[in-house]
C-alpha cells in the first residue's frame, strides 16, 4: 500500500507525491516512443499543475526506447521538475539511461541510481521550499 496522497495512473505509468518528491513509475514492458512520451509528460504535468518537484523516475519497467521518445522526455519532460533521479536495475537499462543522459541531454540535473534510498538522498537537495 502506498501511504501517500494523490495517486494517478495512465496506460504507461503511475505517479504519486510523497515527502515533496514526485514518484514516477513506468509500468512493465513499456517501449518509450514518442506517443508514450507525450502521454506520460502531459499527464505528469497535469498532475503537478503549478508545483515543481524533484522526480524519482523508476524506469525498471521500460523494455526499449527510441530516439524520438528519449529526446521528447529530455526536453519537454523536464518541465516542472527541479531534478530527476533515474532508478534502474539491469545493465541494459543502465546503458540506455546513460545514453539518454549523454546524448538526449535532459534540461535539469539528472543522475542514475540502482538504490532507491540513494536516489532519494540526491533528490532531497532539490526539494522546493
Amino acid at each position: 500500500m502506498i501511504a501517500a496522497h494523490d495517486f494517478y495512473e495512465n496506460a504507461y505509468a503511475q505517479f504519486w507525491v510523497k515527502d515533496a518528491i514526485l514518484y514516477f513509475k513506468y509500468k512493465p514492458n513499456v517501449t518509450l516512443d514518442l506517443t508514450v512520451a507525450k502521454q506520460v509528460v502531459a499527464d505528469r504535468i497535469y498532475f503537478q499543475n503549478e508545483n515543481v518537484y524533484p522526480v524519482l523516475c523508476d524506469v525498471r519497467g521500460i523494455l526499449n526506447s527510441d530516439k524520438a521518445g528519449r529526446d521528447y522526455v529530455a526536453h519537454s519532460g523536464s518541465l516542472l521538475t527541479s531534478a530527476v533521479g533515474i532508478l534502474v536495475h539491469e545493465k541494459v537499462l543502465y546503458t540506455m539511461s546513460s545514453f539518454y543522459l549523454e546524448i538526449s541531454k535532459p534540461s535539469v540535473p539528472t543522475q542514475i541510481f540502482i538504490e532507491e534510498h540513494e536516489a532519494l538522498n540526491y533528490l532531497n537537495q532539490y526539494k522546493t521550499k
Partner: protein, 300 residues
Amino acid sequence: MDIPQNKLRIVKIHQMLFDMARGTFSNRIPLSGNDDELETITVLINMVAEELQDNIFQMGYVNSKIRKTYQQHLIHFDDSFRIVDCSPSLFTFLNTSEVFGQSLSIFLTAPSYERLNNFVCNSSLNVTSLSLDFKVFDELLVSVCCCLSSLTTSKLYTLTLFIPESSTIDLNTVVAESEDKGTKIKRSDAKYIQKLYDYILAHLDEPLPSIKELARQIGTNECKLKEGFRYFFNTSIYQFYNEERLKRAHFMIATTTIPLKSVASMNGFLDYPNFSKAFKKRFGQSPNEVSRNGISEKTT
C-alpha cells in the same frame, strides 16, 4: 561468449556495423531479452544508429563520403492487411517478389503489425506517420519511417515507406561557404553549434544572452556562430530561441493551469504584452484563447 546463441548475436552485431559503415543506418539488431554485456552493446549500437540516421543531413555528422537522400516505396493493402499492389522497388526492399496477396504480418515484426493494426482501426486521421520494423534481411530488422493513409474511393490503405539511399559527395575539404561574408563553415564547427543548440534548449526560461556573450561562452567567434547556426538549422539563433520558447509556452498553456503571466516569465518573456503579441503572431490566437488541460486518463 562461445555458446551458439551468443555467436549468433555477435554475427548480427557485425552485420549491423558493416551496414553502418556502408551508410545504412535504418537497420536495428533485434534484442535477445538477456541482460548481459552483449545486450548493452546491442542496445548502444541501435541507439547510435538512430542518432546518426536522424542527424545524417547535418553535415557535421556525415561520414566522409556518404550523403543520404530518400527513396519511396508504396504498398496498397486491404482491410485484411493483404498486399494488393505495390511499387516495383518494393520487391528489392523486401528481398522477394512473392508479395501480392501476402499479409503484411509476414513482413512486419509482431509489435509493428499490431501497431499498424491499431492505427488502421482506431485512427480518425486520413494521414498518419509511424515507424515500423520490417523483417527483410536475415536476422536483421529495418526500421522505416512510414506514412499511412486511407484512400478516398476504395477501401484500400496506402503505406509509403521512406528508405535512405546513398550517393557520393566529397566532404574532405570545405563543406560550405557563406554567401554573405565568405565565412567557411567546416565540419569541425559543428561541435560549437551543437553546444549552442544545447545551451538554448536548456535556457529557454531566461532571456537570450547577446551573440557576443554566447560566442565567448562557447569558445568561438560571433561570425562562425551566426553563420554556422544558420547553415545547420536554416534559421537565425534568435528566431530558433524564440520559436522554441513560444512552442514550450503553448505546451504549458495547453497542458497546465499555470497563470499566463507565469507561463510568460517561465519562458524568458519579461513583458506579458510582448509575449501575448509574439504568441498571437506565431499561433494565430492569443494565449488566453488556447484550450487548457488536456489529459488522457487518470485515476485516484
